[in-house]
């Protein structure tokens, strides 16, 4: 179980980092999503791995799973979901106005907005 968890987190982080380093926005966004999955699993694991154990105090139960990381993960999921939506919209906007989906900015001298003299 530990090995499965650790390798899942490691693999997703590695794949996410690789995709983030690409030059097109779509793979970059995919990479960011993979990274957030990895970090969510990591947060779960930070409360120790426990299967089939109640998170709430109850009579007659000796071992518990830690409820706090579950709450943290929930917050992290909500935030990363919102952030992914924002970055998708902004990337779409950039694609539609600039007619390409490169992550890099064009050289300054080509800028039409500032207008080179």
């Amino acid at each position: 179980m530990e090995l499965l968890m650790a390798s899942a987190i490691g693999l997703m982080t590695a794949a996410g980092l690789y995709l983030v380093l690409r030059l097109r926005t779509f793979p970059v966004i995919l990479g960011l999503s993979l990274l957030t999955y990895a970090v969510n699993l990591f947060l779960f694991a930070s409360g120790r791995l426990a299967v089939n154990m109640p998170p709430v105090l109850r009579k007659g139960v000796e071992t518990y799973s830690d409820p706090l990381p579950q709450a943290l993960v929930l917050t992290a999921i909500v935030i990363s979901f919102g952030m992914t939506a924002v970055v998708v919209m902004m990337a779409l906007g950039a694609y539609l106005t600039a007619r390409n989906d490169d992550v890099t900015l064009p050289p300054e001298d080509d800028a039409t907005r500032e207008g080179e003299a």
């Binding site: 970090v39 930070s46 900015l105």
Partner: protein, 505 residues
């Protein structure tokens, strides 16, 4: 009794932003009135909190009345009070500029996003919980994404996407750091973290050190410490000017977090993490300072010049923070006050110039004579003095305090050489830019004949208020430094903070 006032700097902008969006989204006039009124109220509350914190009391506000460390707490001490006041004052002045120039009407939802941004910044300064700090970071970031691409444009959107990607990576790193810390200590309350971290035996401290280092990386990204500064130049140069001016406080949030965490949680007395970041921070900060000021000299556009000036000022600031002594902390916060106002002023003046130069805009090539040429030139001159740290403005005093505070550090000669030499480089860069823009004007006969169009007064009022703030900071340096020295003493004796948060236990 301070009661619920601590939470007001968070709740007021949040409620106001919702009202602005829901009730008056199509009415820019009403939005302006309410946004300014809200900012004035925020400043008033912040000043009240500052007055209270000035007595030396550390006030704790338990959200939902859950006692720490189980619930989330907001903590008001001298440092957080002064940062909230700085935020509120800067936001009010820059908001007036945005309204005066009409920047706020060039896209939609400027004012609600502005208020959400304030909520995030104030919350980050006030919170006493590490995960809550992450949440407020996200609040201020998501508002800043919207503000960054305000008014649109292809280059601005591209720069915005870069900015978002970089910061999402930073947020992921933040979560990894928090997960590690929680796994080791079992708490995320900052005061409780400090206690638990001290109990960890040296043999088991590897994960704690990893957590502390990851956290430092996150804050270094926010503070634009080299080599993690890559998000800053494009973002600040392409952002709308009032937004870039407000962003002057955002890098300071990173510096604040470093100061808070590495005095409270991983303080100099904590054996296992002692000397973990000092050296990295000093040399990184010197590098930041040097590269920033060389960037000022080498910039071919005014926007990038201002962005690199912001990087350079962060370098100076982080050198002072790296000292981790009372004197250097006080000097660092004094320089924070100065560099926030000066950096914001530089972005606003650059915008005034760009708007008046027509097609030449921000390029550093000879352009037409500006409307109100003398006034703008004088403003540029004052701003340049402040940025470069020349007497008589507060930049000079700030640098002097930093030089004095770093006297006993081992890298003192390197620090002194870097600060003094880069001041000269900055003067050269700013003088060069100023002489191209203001002296080498290409006056044509027809432009001299027509009377200049009347210009709105409010932007100039805002700029001169910022300049006045810098002058006031120099004139009242005595009382300000007395407060800041008390603040540094409070910060370097975290026992009082911990006792206040965790109750008498």
């Amino acid at each position: 009794m301070i009661g619920h006032w601590i939470v007001v700097p968070v709740v007021l902008p949040a409620v106001l932003a919702a009202v602005l969006t829901l009730a008056m989204r199509h009415h820019i006039g009403l939005q302006r009135v309410f946004s300014v009124a809200g900012s004035v109220a925020l400043l008033a509350v912040a000043l009240g909190l500052l007055g209270h914190a000035g007595t030396g009391a550390i006030e704790v506000y338990e959200l939902g009345n859950w006692p720490a460390p189980f619930g989330i707490v907001l903590v008001l001490d001298r440092l957080s009070a002064v940062m909230v006041v700085l935020t509120a004052a800067l936001a009010l002045i820059v908001l007036l500029y945005a309204i005066g120039t009409g920047w706020d009407a060039r896209g939609r939802n400027f004012h609600p996003l502005w208020q959400f941004q304030l909520m995030g910044i104030c919350g980050a300064f006030l919170t006493g919980d590490a995960f809550n700090l992450f949440v407020f970071f996200e609040v201020l970031l998501i508002a800043s994404y919207g503000l960054m691409i305000h008014a649109g444009g292809a280059r601005r959107l591209k720069a915005g996407v870069q900015y978002v990607i970089y910061n999402l990576l930073g947020s992921t790193l933040f979560l990894f750091a928090l997960g590690t810390l929680y796994a080791v200590t079992g708490t995320l309350n900052m005061a409780d973290l400090a206690l638990r971290a001290a109990e960890i035996p040296a043999g088991d401290s590897a994960l704690l050190r990893v957590g502390a280092m990851l956290l430092f990386l996150v804050f270094a990204i926010k503070a634009a410490l080299l080599p993690l500064h890559f998000w800053l130049p494009n973002t600040y140069a392409e952002a709308p000017a009032p937004v870039a001016a407000l962003f002057a406080i955002m890098t300071k949030v990173g510096a604040y977090a470093i100061l808070r965490f590495y005095t409270l949680v991983f303080g100099p007395d904590l054996g296992v993490t002692a000397a973990l970041i000092d050296r990295i921070l000093i040399y990184g900060a010197i590098l930041t300072l040097v590269v920033g000021m060389i960037g000022v000299l080498g910039a071919r556009r005014l926007g990038r010049l201002a962005a690199f000036a912001a990087i350079g000022s962060m370098g100076t600031l982080l050198v002072a923070i790296a000292g981790f002594t009372e004197a250097s902390t006080a000097a660092a916060v004094y320089y924070t006050l100065h560099s926030t106002l000066a950096g914001a002023l530089l972005f606003l003046v650059v915008d005034l110039v760009r708007e008046r130069r027509g097609a030449t805009a921000g390029a550093l090539v000879p352009g037409p004579r500006l409307a109100q040429h003398g006034m703008i030139t004088a403003l540029w001159f004052g701003t340049a003095i402040a940025i470069a740290g020349m007497p008589p403005l507060s930049g000079f005093l700030g640098k002097l305090l930093i030089l004095d505070a770093t006297r006993h550090m081992e890298a003192v000669w390197l620090i002194w050489a870097a600060i003094l030499a880069t001041s000269l480089v900055a003067i050269l860069g700013l003088a060069q830019a100023g002489s191209v823009v203001f002296w080498k004007t290409t006056d044509s006969a027809d432009s001299a004949g027509t009377p200049p169009a009347p210009q709105p007064a409010l932007p100039l009022v805002a700029c001169f208020t910022l300049l006045g703030g810098i002058v006031a900071l120099a004139v009242f340096a005595g009382p300000v430094m007395r407060y800041l020295e008390a603040m540094a003493a409070q910060l370097h004796a975290p026992a009082a903070y911990i006792a206040a948060v965790l109750g008498q236990g």
